[in-house]
């Protein structure tokens, strides 16, 4: 049995059973019948063409959207979806949002602020209300906060969308090298990154979802789906 498989058997951090989502008023489900388990150091890619439900799944796993059917059982802490800035209070400044989240997660505010400021490189902008931030600035704040608070599992929705090339390298180093013992789930179109960092993959297509133990195989299939 591979180390990843052992990890799933010995220390599952997430169990997803018969998960499905149908939006209000929609005639067909976005997907249904999703079953998988994630170990405490598992690295799962979520692949699918635009509109197939990758972000929906990530949001459901992050607790932002409720499932229509099935169960999500976490036994490890999980981040909010990185790349998603929807959890901030827009009229509060970046600093106040950091203070609020530090309290919520019982972290020391000063230490949290220091780490966010060091990572997100937002400087004096942290004093401005978050509603005035660009989407990139919100993503950097959300990413910085998720790294400062430290989670067992990171939910990543299109990491590459955050910042310039230098900042993206910094993000990847912090996530995949500094936190290589953590679990993560990554929704992405970047097949090179998926093949490099993930050990399993889910493909969502036409309401069906399949899990692949061989991530290279999943990438090949997904590349054909995109080209079709």
């Amino acid at each position: 049995m591979s180390p990843a498989a052992n990890d799933i058997v010995d220390a599952p951090g997430l169990r997803v059973a018969r998960l499905g989502k149908t939006f209000h008023g929609a005639s067909r489900p976005v997907f249904q019948g999703i079953d998988f388990t994630l170990g405490r150091s598992g690295r799962l890619a979520i692949l699918g063409r635009n509109g197939q439900g990758k972000s929906t799944l990530i949001k459901m796993l992050g607790g932002i959207l409720p499932p229509t059917e099935g169960q999500i059982v976490w036994t490890m802490s999980s981040s909010w979806p990185i790349g998603f800035g929807g959890g901030f209070q827009g009229s509060l400044s970046g600093l106040d949002n950091i203070r609020f989240l530090a309290r919520l997660y019982a972290r020391n505010y000063r230490e949290t602020l220091e780490r966010v400021d060091d990572f997100a490189e937002l400087g004096r902008s942290l004093r401005l209300p978050v509603k005035h931030y660009s989407s990139g600035m919100r993503a950097r704040l959300a990413f910085g906060l998720s790294l400062a608070i430290e989670f067992d599992c990171y939910l990543i929705d299109e990491l590459v969308a955050v910042g310039d090339a230098r900042f993206q390298r910094k993000c990847q180093e912090e996530l995949f090298q500094q936190r290589k013992d953590r679990a993560f789930m990554m929704a992405s179109h970047d097949t090179q990154m998926v093949a490099h960092y993930c050990d399993r993959a889910i493909i969502i297509e036409s309401g069906q979802c399949k899990i692949f133990e061989d991530v290279e195989e999943a990438v090949e299939i997904y590349s054909w789906l995109r080209a079709a």
Binding site: I203, E205, S206, Q208, K210, E217, E220, I221, S223, W224, L225
Partner: protein, 299 residues
């Protein structure tokens, strides 16, 4: 001579019953049990004299205790006075193929036309009755040498159980079912059954459910490194057939290969077997050109 046992497959032959009787008498003298399993491949005794009809049943015995008795003369195998003699051979061809596979797996190949044969474990046995037969020149080569004498139009059905399924399969032995999900890959290959020189056509039957997508399938028919190919994309569930033909310059084990032509997310494929037909070399129907893309015909 040991007291182990012998497993025997007798192909269709006018001398078959004579050999069956002679072997039964010899086994009885040795105190062996005698069993005829018919087409059953499950309840095979592990000792005594056992008559079987499949190569799988022979595998219950060591290679040194397996024998097949063949007759490669078409006129002696089937009563030539029967109007449909050739067709009868073709209908029985599945037993010949079983014998061919058994021979490849190490069974002793013995000529039914002789009066006396040396059997593994039993030693020299004399046939009980019957008239002399001519000995076919290729008798030692293959049970399928029978087809050397057949005219164009002769055919044989190749059952799905003679083929290999690298992805595994579910369903039944008559209709193995495969999930097409995955990389470009072979779904079916084999059966490496010897075909004599000549032009041979294969009509492949299969069913596909592309599950609202499309099923890209590549069919290859040939031997060694020489294959003709047909590629098709199927978009609707149903039963289909594809025809390919190729000229064998000399006797060679034939191979049919069915591939998923590129990675797919979904789809189910079921192989229903194929019919192999000898076609006249000068038949006006052109051979399938290589790499041709066609729409599979719904049958």
């Amino acid at each position: 001579m040991s007291s182990g046992g012998l497993c025997v497959l007798i192909t269709p032959s006018a001398a078959g019953s004579g050999w069956r009787q002679a072997l039964t008498v010899r086994a009885g003298r040795l105190g062996w049990s005698v069993t005829d399993t018919g087409a059953d491949t499950v309840a095979i005794p592990s000792g005594g004299l056992v008559f079987v009809q499949t190569h799988e049943a022979l595998l219950g015995f060591p290679a040194s205790a397996r024998a097949i008795i063949i007759d490669t003369s078409a006129t002696d195998t089937i009563d030539p006075s029967l109007p449909a003699a050739t067709e009868d051979i073709m209908i029985r061809s599945h037993i010949l193929v079983e014998a061919e596979i058994a021979a490849i797996q190490g069974a002793a190949v013995l000529n039914a036309a002789r009066y006396v044969l040396d059997f593994p474990e039993l030693g020299s046995v004399e046939r009980h009755e019957g008239s002399p037969y001519r000995i076919h020149p290729s008798v030692s080569e293959s049970p399928l040498a029978l087809f050397d004498d057949t005219a164009p139009g002769g055919w044989a059905n190749w059952h799905p159980r003679w083929f290999a399924y690298p992805k595994g399969n579910v369903g039944s032995v008559d209709e193995p079912l495969m999930d097409m999900t995955g990389r470009q890959q072979a779904l079916v290959f084999g059966p490496y059954i010897r075909l004599p020189a000549g032009r041979w056509r294969v009509d492949v039957r299969f069913s596909v459910d592309p599950e609202r997508a499309h099923a890209p399938l590549l069919f290859e028919w040939g031997a060694g490194l020489e294959y003709c190919k047909v590629m098709t994309e199927i978009r609707h569930p149903g039963v289909y057939s594809v025809s390919l033909d190729r000229i064998w310059p000399e006797a060679d084990p034939a191979q049919l290969r069915i591939w998923v032509a590129h990675p797919v997310f979904q789809g189910r494929f079921s192989f229903l077997g194929c019919r192999v037909t000898r076609v006249a070399v000068d038949d006006p129907t052109p051979p399938t050109p290589g790499d041709r893309i066609v729409d599979a015909a719904v049958s």
